[in-house]
Amino acid sequence: MNLAAIDWLVMLVYFVFVLGIGFALKRYMKTSTDFFLAGRSIPAWIAGLAFISANLGAQEVIGMAASGAKYGISISHFYWIGAIPAMVFVGIFMMPFYYGSRARSVPEYLRLRFDEKTRGFNAISFAVMTVFSSGISMYAMARLIQILHIFDGVFAALSIPQEYIFHFSILVSALIVLGYIFLGGLTSAIYNEVLQFFLIVAGFVPLVYLGLKNLGGWEGMMQKLPESFGHSWVGMGSPATNPLGVEAFGLAMGLGFVLSFGYWCTDFLVVQRAMAADSMDAAQRTPLIAAVPKMFFPFLVIVPGLIAVALPDQKAPTGMVYEQTAGHEEPMGKGIIPPKMNAATGQPVVNEAGHIELDYDLAIPNLLLHYFPNGLLGLGLIALLASFMSGMAGNVTAFNTVFTYDIYQSYIKKDASDDHLLKVGRVATVGGIVLSLFAAFVATRFNNIMDMLQLVFAFVNAPLFATFLLGMFWKRATGHGAFSGLLAGTLAAALHHGLSLPAGAAVGFKGGWLGSIHTYPSEMAQSFWTAIFSWSACFLVTIIVSLVTKPPVEEQLRGLVYSMTEKPSYGHVAWYKRPQAFAIAVLGMTVVLNIVFW
């Protein structure tokens, strides 16, 4: 790739602002609440955009375009039924407890509602997960910088060996994220997430515009794609008739209910943004405001995937990324998506069926190179880098809070002063980033370890929403019930995974390690059903164990359980200004989108 001075200049401006925000906020960080909860002073619209931006990490931008290129517009299910309903639910029904209870983190809510062991289980598994997620973000970003040859020229000029580009990229990204969080805490992370939100939009809108214009608009693009790529629901009746290999029930229950509510309603990474809001009203609005851009993101992140496969196959490619395949007679990629290359042999990777595997993750990077001239290219690159960094920062701020409040203050030093906690928070920020660095390097060495960890996290996460649902809406649920339910749910997920296998997959990380008794039509179907089993196990076991254990003291549930909490009253506000009206509008718009892309 040929970067010009202008591209470097645009990138430099971005980095100056990112760090500048941290410096500007430093003097406001006086208490631990300032650092971990942004002083609970963030207006709704900022919290809302940060809510969506923290989630807009690496796997979102790169991964959703990749899936779009593979499966078509039906991937928007991950947005329209896999996010919006849950975001509305957490805003309207759960925020009164999260925000109202004054809990400082999600694990702390579990401590207030249930008991210490339930909090400990959640806090520790969450802390480990955030470190690895931010490590994976770093790793993916460094890989991308390497593939795009961003620093090649610089390194060559300084005569530093090219293999250090990877390490350099990881270190630089870590230092920048460390810098702005260390200085300005959650406020700084939130402000940067908002900045990154606008940048991502500014970088991707022209990309989608140029791509669609080039292909002759939406209709023109669809003519070059299989019929199923344009529909999200047609063929969902049976796994055999849609590209995802999932049936409508598994999709609605597995993705739309268990996975999506489990993430949006219980993951402290996103909930933290709403907890930082300046009032109950703002906290309730945070996920609702976030839902509006969320429902339109498919057009920014999935459509580029469609454009990438709809373009003519490249024979004599232009961008650096294709160079590896130049010289072959026949185009080996699809559209502008190149084949996956085996780094050792320099030959394309061929799967068991004899087809060349495609590197779908390069859909967006290649599209940037394809359409953007110098100048705009710099902007496109920072949009991409911004998405990685906001994902990383989101994990780091969630980690330092959970570590400080739920691990340090709970188990290590119970009587710590607020000043001391603020210091611990800064140290935890450094610690979290160092651990992520470590995780990123582990990922380079042992790819399988990452697969395994992600699997374990999926098992731990799947049942969580059952615990919260019962905790918030059933006052009889007990601590013993919640804890045994979580264990049962995790175990059920592992068992189900161990006993089933997606069609055509080998026994191992894909499942079947306990002997395969059921075959799913696709990996997606398997993961949805793993979630459904896990959730059901947790739900049932929590109820049964709760009924045989001592009921909680009602007085202690005030503000934590639906029937024991005064509802936020909006009686004096005009109906259209209430969060409920906003929620209904959001759901209505989502229904319209589903119908348009039926």
Partner: protein, 82 residues
């Protein structure tokens, strides 16, 4: 918090917008072949510039008329549980 986020966002968009527009005028037209013949640096740079100015102005207006203290700003809902 003492810093209005609209100011840095606005300022950054203004600077990047100006950079892109300026580069669009001095750059070799041949580089716009890949962007379908459109000088996207000038076009998109101007859009970013306008957005940046709007953000900055909004931030300035916000600074002149600070919102009432948060207790009054959001009477709805209040603090449900204590």
């Amino acid at each position: 918090m003492g810093l209005d986020i609209r100011m840095p966002i606005g300022l950054m968009f203004v600077i990047i917008g100006v950079l892109l527009v300026a580069y669009g005028f001095i750059s070799d037209p041949a580089i716009y072949e890949r962007s379908l013949g459109m000088n996207v640096n000038v076009i998109w740079g101007s859009v970013m510039l306008v957005f940046g100015i709007v953000m900055t102005v909004l931030g300035k207006i916000g600074a002149k008329n600070p919102p009432p203290a948060s207790a009054d700003a959001a009477p709805a809902g209040g603090r449900a549980a204590h």
